[in-house]
Subunit: 533 residues, 2 copies
């Protein structure tokens, strides 16, 4: 009852999608377990929303999307309503909170892990399906909630094996930029969004590219032109100043030490100070000009001294100070959690503090080349997202870990793997083979019975290809004698490299032993142990 | 920079989709971990294919679909190619194997877990997104491969807490029906598919309904008419005989006992025997008519004696016997793994053995009503699915566990839960609260800092609503004295039910203690321990 075979489909994946094998899945599982344990230990509980949401419920918040539905995968349900696959886990959370607000504890703290889909142009290493792991606190406008997410992310990254200094979690608040744009007279929403997106491209386009996008526009290598925000040069210079502060060298952070304030330091804000015309000197006149130790508190103070004194900016700086104080009290200094006013985040819905976790060590790609690695986690406060549905503001803040990106960066470091495998060959008595595999499994050993062709050679080749550690062989003669042969495949493979004379050949025999059938489990256990597993 | 608020979307989920909360997710995670461990112990390794496949690669194998794309969610990529969300995990596996055949070990054994999507009419308890957990062996035509899946599924279900007899895994082969239809002269493919689908509805429609679908057709309660296969009454009777054999009572299985053959038995195939006109007597003349103990071997033998003697049926029966012998050798008797010739499975692509796991205990729904519970796992052999792509047959067999269904059936049995939670209130010194929570976490206790409003009442209410076991309270006075108050919320809640006199009130005080700040962790640990966690 099989289908017709006249025209055959080609076996291939849609563009931008990929299959993943055991090594990557096992590594991801270990990573997800670690994140989950940290999130749960902080009191976040799991929630799962479905893959689909109504398109209007998701909203359009992806960067670089001017046309409706671009960026998301959408289709019409049979009642003609448009549904879309989620492009992140935040928009569905806002829908969930709006729908269930009355019954939720306040604040509501949940985590969610799962795939998200982006209908974007695929490219090398750029997939249209990837895993995110989010934690959000909904219903609190306290900077405590933001600060906690920063600390929790540090805990996650360190539990994943990163040392402080191998990553840095940067924070800022959108309200700094908001206040600055207000002062520069840029009130038009569409223009503000253009500025926002231009700034978010700093990592990719650098100072020159961003300046072009803030001004007259930019033509890329392929000849595509992006219209700029049309700002005046002076306005551009003011905004670009935010990046000066962000450019502290990453190894110049002393305030991990509880007594950092006592440290003398030659490190300084000198570049920033120079640009600002000696602000450090003015503000901290008791210190040597430009030689103030770097700390979040100092950076915030310096920026504040330079920024316009408006209500928005004042409130923003107070929030930044509160966040800074809380993380400082738990000894998370600027080496791990750093204020950086150039952090913007591309998503439009952020309203306050924004965060971004970056790796500071060189990451190599599949080709062994060192690549510039962007953020592995990001998030921020989105106080208006629930109000989209209800009209009532519900403050909320969250962070999302890009698991796929993080994993590819950590690939060279830890390699969680499946337990060693034993393959029981199946020669003339499959029932006996199944019994042996079952005995091994009962002893906690991963063991499979070969279920393919009857050829001995195929079976051994299979065990090799599977990377099995031990092959169990029971021929008819052996069974009669109550014996079974165990082949140590890992050892055998190693020895076969150097079989050049008889002495080696004799050693090679040690990779294979015959034992009593009753000694199967204990012998296999010993063989696996010998190899340190 | 929030969006406009003129017209607000309504917060609601698309039809047929649902959100899932912590209790269900934690239970599912425990379930998936168990299945994964069993599958891995048998040597199956994980594979993940993406959510999308090209529509032509998925094929159209869903039951009850006469129109193209019905049953699946499909959309056009920007290069106009049609993509669909996977409706199962088997079709993507066939695509994967066809694409990567050269590099795979043979047989190739993989498991995959993940959501699948069906574009079906939603109904109560019937969702359009659900989780499947599949294991497949590709590249082996040996009945060993089928038998192994049956035994592995037993292991899974028993590791999940089911006792033998609380479930039964039934097996059959499509070739029995194929052979029978050949003999009845029903060679037309579309007619055969109609018969297949009619038989697969036996559980839902019963004998009468199936007979109608095999004959002139059936009009359901809503007045909808389904055209029948148009078979003659005699043909229908022949086919329906398969169901007679399947109706052994589930508690009449003796061959779990290694020495079953010695057992005398009053149980019998009498109903079947009667219909067949004394076949048992004829075939097993040495025994009392109709009093043959029930076993897979006997059932297969009886059926074989009755079925037409064709090559297809002969081969089918041999396969069934081989499967039966292998599982029997590992003491999986017909109480756990049972031959039942009425098992058909709705999917069109099966070519040989088919399997179905059923629960035999009464399952209650949310309303407390006992419901008839269908299969929780199913699968079979699909030797032609890879050939759809390559033209070359690659034998394959697999089983899929319907995790969502299985979980809802097991709901009343085991309740894996998150570890008990401690909420640290945050009154006037959030930094101190964060430190306390961090200390508790470092001791392995799930502890969160309250990050919402400053009101004491709100905070306690929150801890209650979250189901926290202990609340940690540190007011300004207490901090000065170096103390902290611990409220045992679980104990307090229990006591508050019976506070009627002063004595009770005094006991109630025990639910709250003040201890030295340095004794925080050890006291909380003791409080959690007291409650047996």
């Amino acid at each position: 009852m099989s289908g017709d075979k006249v025209s055959r489909p080609r076996a291939r994946l849609p563009r931008g999608f990929r299959d993943r094998g055991a090594a990557e899945i096992v590594a991801e599982r270990a990573c997800l377990d670690t994140i989950r344990k940290v999130y749960e230990s902080y009191g976040f509980e799991p929630l799962e929303t479905p893959a689909f949401e109504y398109t209007d419920a998701l909203g359009k918040f992806l960067p670089d999307l001017d046309r409706p539905n671009e960026g998301v995968f959408s289709l019409q349900d049979d009642d003609s309503q448009w549904m879309s696959l989620r492009y992140d886990l935040t928009a569905p959370l806002a829908r969930y909170v709006a729908e269930n607000f009355q019954n939720l504890p306040k604040p509501f703290r949940r985590y969610q892990v799962g795939p998200v889909w982006r209908n974007e142009k695929p490219g090398p290493g750029r997939y249209r399906e990837f895993t995110q792991f989010d934690a959000d606190t909904v219903g609190s406008n306290s900077p405590s909630a933001d600060a906690e997410l920063l600390m929790m992310t540090c805990d996650v990254l360190e539990k994943l094996g990163l040392a402080p200094g191998e990553y840095v979690i940067k924070f800022n608040t959108r309200e700094i930029l908001d206040g600055l744009l207000n002062e520069l007279g840029l009130t038009e929403l569409s223009k503000r969004i253009t500025v926002l997106r231009a700034l978010d491209k700093y990592d990719r386009l650098g100072e020159r590219g961003v300046k072009a996008l803030l001004g007259k526009g930019r033509t890329d290598e392929s000849g595509d032109h992006t219209t700029g925000a049309g700002l005046a040069e002076e306005q551009i210079d003011q905004i670009m100043m935010l990046f000066e502060v962000g450019q502290q060298p990453s190894d110049l952070s002393f305030d991990e030490l509880p007594d950092w304030e006592k440290q003398d330091s030659a490190y300084s804000y000198s570049s920033f100070d120079q640009k600002l015309g000696g602000f450090v000197n003015e503000v901290y006149s008791s210190r040597q000009p430009g030689a103030l130790p770097i700390s979040n508190k100092n950076t915030i103070a310096l920026l504040r001294s330079w920024l316009p004194k408006t209500e928005t900016i004042n409130r923003a700086c107070q929030q930044l100070e509160q966040i800074s104080d809380i993380v400082r009290a738990r000894h998370f200094g600027s080496k791990r959690i750093r204020f950086d006013p150039s952090i913007i985040r591309g998503l439009e819905y952020y309203t306050g503090p924004v965060f971004e976790a970056q790796l500071t060590f060189p990451v190599t790609n599949d080709a062994g080349e060192t690549v510039v690695f962007g953020s592995v986690a990001g998030g921020g406060r989105y106080d208006d997202l629930v109000a989209r549905f209800t009209g009532q503001q519900v403050p909320a803040t969250g962070i999302s870990i890009g698991v796929s990106r993080l994993l590819s960066a950590l690939r060279s470091r830890s390699k969680p793997a499946l337990a060693p495998l034993v393959v029981v060959l199946s020669l003339d008595d499959p029932q006996s083979s199944f019994r042996m595999a079952a005995e091994l499994r009962a002893a906690g050993i991963r063991a499979e019975t070969y279920v393919g062709t009857k050829k001995f050679g195929d079976q051994l080749k299979y065990a090799d290809k599977r990377g099995a550690s031990v092959a169990v062989i029971e021929g008819g003669d052996e069974r009669e004698k109550g014996q079974v042969t165990l082949k140590d495949l890992a050892l055998g493979a190693e020895m076969s490299k150097s079989i050049e004379n008889r002495a080696d050949w004799i050693k090679g025999r040690a990779a294979q032993v015959s034992v009593a059938r009753g000694a199967l489990v204990e012998t296999v256990r010993a063989m696996l142990h010998v190899k340190g597993s």
